[in-house]
């Protein structure tokens, strides 16, 4: 049934009209003081009210140092073989999620179907890019296995792979590696690293020496394949090739019975790039 009118503002609701003062008196539960009443301000608020943005005080020296250490720690952690770099997220990943399924769908993995055609084409400069890992690489690091539950032992050995049996190649001693990252971004621009009793200078020198040594090796330096953690210098080239192979393996995460992507994987060499100079890592 049509009740008539558009509803309006309150008028149709019945009851007597009140002025502002009365409204204010009736809308609060406490008794108002007639001499000093609270008057509701009916004006619409300003669209862009002046807002006094509070400014934090500048960082003290100590805080700067704490921040530096945190950043370097983070950088070293990102450099470790255990770090898994997330694929760039899609635009709608930040939408509100209502339930676990929607949250999970945010992390739709980067498959060959979601490739960006503008950047995915293999170019020479790709070899300078940091290799992205989708799973942590445990195979080179030592672990105190007695403190892990037995179901994770194979993973820690680096044997937790689809074709695990043929992977029993790492028999040499595993070594813990130290990160050689000692600076983070800002130093290059602010040139403040110079004053601190020669310490940063020396670190820089060590980094340079590290680089130099890598150059002495072969053009592993160029390809950026040898990260500082790996300490791969002692390993022979076969191992490096096996490494690349292993990296290939990591890329397909799903171990379903039917893997449609595998269908295309076999003709990897069709891209024609693969200079063959270092093991040919033609992955995306």
């Amino acid at each position: 049934m049509f009740r008539g009118g558009r509803g309006g503002r309150g008028r149709g609701r019945g009851g007597p009209m009140m002025n502002r003062r009365e409204i204010s008196q009736n809308s609060v539960p406490w008794a108002t003081d007639p001499k000093d009443p609270i008057v509701l301000d009916g004006k619409p608020s300003e669209t862009y009210p002046a807002w006094n943005v509070p400014k934090p005080p500048v960082l003290t020296k100590k805080e700067e140092r704490q921040l530096d250490y945190f950043l370097i720690f983070r950088e070293q952690s990102h450099d470790s073989p255990l770090y898994t770099e997330p694929p760039p997220r899609s635009k709608d990943s930040r939408r509100r999620a209502y339930g676990q399924e929607q949250i999970n769908s945010r992390y739709a993995d980067e498959s060959k179907a979601t490739i960006n055609p503008f950047t995915a084409v293999e170019t020479y400069s790709k070899r300078f890019e940091r290799k992205k890992r989708t799973l942590p690489d445990f195979s080179n690091l030592p672990f105190a296995k007695e403190f892990f539950p037995p179901e994770l032992h194979a993973t820690l050995d680096g044997l937790d792979e689809p074709g695990a049996d043929r992977k029993r190649r790492r028999t040499g001693p595993k070594t813990l590696a130290l990160s050689s990252i000692t600076t983070y971004g800002a130093d290059e621009f602010e040139e403040e690293g110079e004053q601190g009793n020669g310490q940063p200078d020396f670190n820089k020198a060590l980094e340079l020496m590290d680089n130099l040594e890598k150059m002495d090796g072969d053009d592993a330096f160029l390809s950026g394949e040898e990260d500082d953690w790996g300490n791969n210098e002692d390993e022979d080239n076969e191992d490096a090739a096996a490494d690349a192979e292993a990296a290939d393996q990591y890329d397909d995460e799903s171990e379903d019975d039917y893997n449609a992507e595998q269908y295309f994987d076999n003709d990897d060499n069709d891209y024609g790039d693969d200079g063959g100079d270092d093991g040919g890592d033609g992955t995306f």
């Binding site: 539960p29 250490y69 676990q100 400069s125 940091r130 105190a144 403190f147 179901e151 020669g198 060590l206």
Partner: protein, 680 residues
């Protein structure tokens, strides 16, 4: 720790920031669903078992999980360890603290250990040995190529920092030998900053409790505890078993002590010199290379708390006094393993079984305090007649009972800022007469029991006469004056518990500090009127609005507006009390009151949300600058951005770095607040 939704989200984001997305997703799910097996996790997160195994192993390696394996069961239950995840935020602070107290080399070791999570001593030694070898080889290679030491210009590198000149000054990085590394590990273990990983490290506290309860219950007849006396005894036995288990992580320290570290401790703690000085083999105290060690956050928090307390005392009293306080706390906290006692583990049925609080004597403090510190600074001068020595030297042997903190004091302290400024002006002339630099003359008058007010002596001529005699007081007396000053402060920094014996009652002191922090949070949100109302409510309890109007010296409308604003922010609460049997809103009393617990929860909640927001903004910034960031990470660009990137990109990158620093600094600062309100 109560895990609220914002805290859970923050922990997951922090893990994402440091260890990557995979572990973060698993961790978030564990927090959301509680303990689960791999199968349950797979159903929840939609990841396959292989991904989960990798993620879980990573999280366990970094001590971010608990797990429980029932005997005979094929499956493991995993559970999130929120304390450790949250403490990742404090990594920078902990490293800075370690550097300050143990030198840069120790910081390097600490960083490596945090980075690896748990590490075998032998592996650490190998890794450092390898690095040392590598540096040596590189140096030899350089020397061979460049016999005249012309710097590195001959290489393809940019030669603005010739490696040789620097490296010859400092032939090795920070750790020059494995012996040095071992001695550093010993020192850190001795300071309890490093812990041994032991059998039950990865059992969650609940599991441990259940385990010991079942074990002890089995010894009772009928597996049942009957009667009050038996129940009390049972509780005591459980607590004792838990304590014994907890001390398992100290096994390494005990072993070291047996090996005679304590005899050498003095030598080790000689100062930071030994960190960079020549390493000697005798410091190798035989750490078992198979021992697995990890960071002990509890003790790190104790040390961070000491620093916060030092700062607190510097704010209230003065810098020199705070240095004295700092060395006292350092001595005290050698035997303090954690900030807060656990209600179950640290439960003692009889009071006489409770461990006695640690006591420090004046002589001990005098020994540790740096000789360079001028103790005469920072003490005011008052005519000796005006000090009541008996009151100043009063000894309080017993720890204060609850309700130590007097609320009126807060009002005095906060509102008196303007008075203090005046006071400072008054005191300054005296200090000038003393010919001494007065860093803090504010409350520095020794003895508040002065008959005519603290600043009653306004540089009279008689003062000058007294002066020469007083200047010759010995160091010990000066130190005692600082200590007395600390002990008679209303915050209760220390307690004079015996002749020349001092101790700290952390609980009431932290309560005072927490209140100061809370007050400043309220003041920043609600302004001076707000904090005034809160203090009033704290002193008086629950008040009707009419009663508040009577005492608050504000217009009623203003007052109500302020109260409503603060209620919205969660700082004050109302209670409705009906006047008659039939409740009617119109005829009810509304009592306003201040509940510190609720206010604290609210502030914490806002703090977590601020930190989450900072990390989210950082994520957005990364996405915006993705092009630049991916370029900067390239191996051919890294380290020489200036040469390889166009100016436009460099500016953008610098801008990003600046914003990143600001956001992370924000998190660090908010964490300071969280630490005081929740952890210390």
């Amino acid at each position: 720790m109560l895990v609220t939704a914002p805290l859970a989200e923050f922990c997951a984001l922090m893990i994402d920031e440091i260890y990557g997305e995979l572990p973060s997703r698993i961790y978030a799910s564990l927090l959301m669903r509680g303990r689960s097996t791999i199968q349950q996790l797979a159903g929840d997160t939609g990841m396959n078992a292989r991904q989960l195994r990798h993620g879980l192993a990573l999280l366990l390696q970094h001590n971010l999980l608990y797990y429980h394996l029932d005997t005979g069961s094929p499956q493991c239950f995993y559970e999130a360890n929120v304390e450790h995840a949250y403490n990742l935020t404090r990594t920078g602070k902990i490293l800075e603290m370690v550097e300050e107290s143990f030198g840069p080399a120790a910081k390097d070791v600490m960083q490596t250990i945090i980075l690896t999570g748990q590490a075998r001593v032998g592996d650490l030694v190998d890794a450092y040995q390898k690095r040392i070898d590598r540096v040596n080889r590189a140096m030899e290679a350089l020397k061979a190529e460049d016999p005249f030491g012309n710097g590195a210009d001959s290489h393809e590198l940019n030669g603005d920092t010739p490696p040789e000149t620097k490296s010859e000054k400092k032939p090795d990085l920070l750790i020059s030998s494995t012996a040095q590394l071992k001695s550093i590990i010993c020192r850190l273990v001795d300071a309890e900053l490093l812990d041994a990983v032991h059998k039950t490290t990865y059992e969650s506290p609940e599991d441990l409790l259940a385990m010991f309860e079942a074990e002890i219950l089995a010894t009772y007849p009928g597996k049942e505890v009957k009667g009050n006396k038996a129940k009390a005894e049972y509780k005591d036995r459980v607590a004792e078993a838990l304590r014994k288990d907890r001390s398992g992580s100290k096994s390494l320290k005990r072993k070291l002590e047996q090996n005679g570290l304590s005899a050498k401790r003095r030598k080790l703690f000689d100062g930071a010199a030994s960190a960079s000085g020549t390493p000697d083999g005798e410091l190798d105290l035989g750490v078992d290379p198979n021992q697995v060690i990890c960071i002990n956050y509890e003790k790190c928090l104790v040390d961070l708390r000491n620093r916060r307390l030092m700062q607190f005392s510097a704010d209230i009293i003065g810098t020199t006094t705070s240095w004295v306080y700092g060395s006292l706390l350092k001595l005290l906290s050698k035997d303090v393993s954690r900030c807060r006692d656990d209600p179950i583990i640290d439960h003692y049925e009889k009071d006489d079984e409770r461990p006695v609080p640690v006591v420090v004597t004046t002589a001990q403090i005098l020994d540790t305090i740096k000789t360079g510190l001028d103790l005469s600074v920072g003490l005011g001068k008052v005519d000796a007649l005006k000090i009541s020595t008996a009151a100043a030297e009063k000894i309080t042997a017993q720890a204060p009972r609850k309700k130590f903190f007097i609320d009126v004091q807060a009002e005095v302290e906060g509102d008196a800022t303007s008075d203090e400024e005046e006071e400072e002006e008054d005191v300054k002339p005296i200090m000038d007469l003393d010919y001494r630099p007065a860093t803090n003359g504010v409350n520095g008058v020794n003895g508040t029991h002065v008959t005519s007010g603290a600043n009653g002596v306004n540089g009279t001529s008689s003062k000058v006469k007294v002066e020469p005699r007083e200047r010759r007081v010995d160091r010990r007396t000066q130190l005692r004056h600082h200590l007395l000053l600390l002990s008679e402060s209303t915050q209760g920094f220390i307690r004079h518990c015996g002749v020349d014996e001092w101790t700290v009652d952390f609980e009431p002191l932290m309560r005072a500090l927490r209140q100061v922090e809370l007050d400043s949070a309220i003041e920043n949100t609600a302004g001076r009127e707000g904090i005034r109302l809160v203090r009033m409510l704290r002193a008086k309890g629950k008040l009707d609005e009419k009663a508040i109007v009577g005492i608050c010296l504000m217009r009623k409308a203003d007052m109500l507006k302020k109260l409503a604003e603060m209620q919205k922010a969660g700082f004050v609460q109302t209670q409705e009390v009906p006047r008659e049997a039939k409740a009617d809103v119109k005829k009810s009393f509304f009592l306003w009151y201040f509940d510190p617990e609720m206010a604290l929860e609210r502030v914490l909640d806002v703090a977590y949300k601020t930190m989450i927001h900072s990390l989210q903004v950082l994520d957005m910034l990364r996405e915006e600058n993705q092009v630049v960031l991916s370029l900067v990470k390239r191996t051919d660009v890294k380290g020489q951005e200036e040469g390889k990137l166009p100016k436009f990109y460099i500016d953008k990158y610098a801008q990003f770095l600046k914003h990143e620093r600001m956001l992370l600094a924000q998190i660090h600062r908010v964490d300071d607040l969280v630490a005081v309100l929740r952890d210390y």
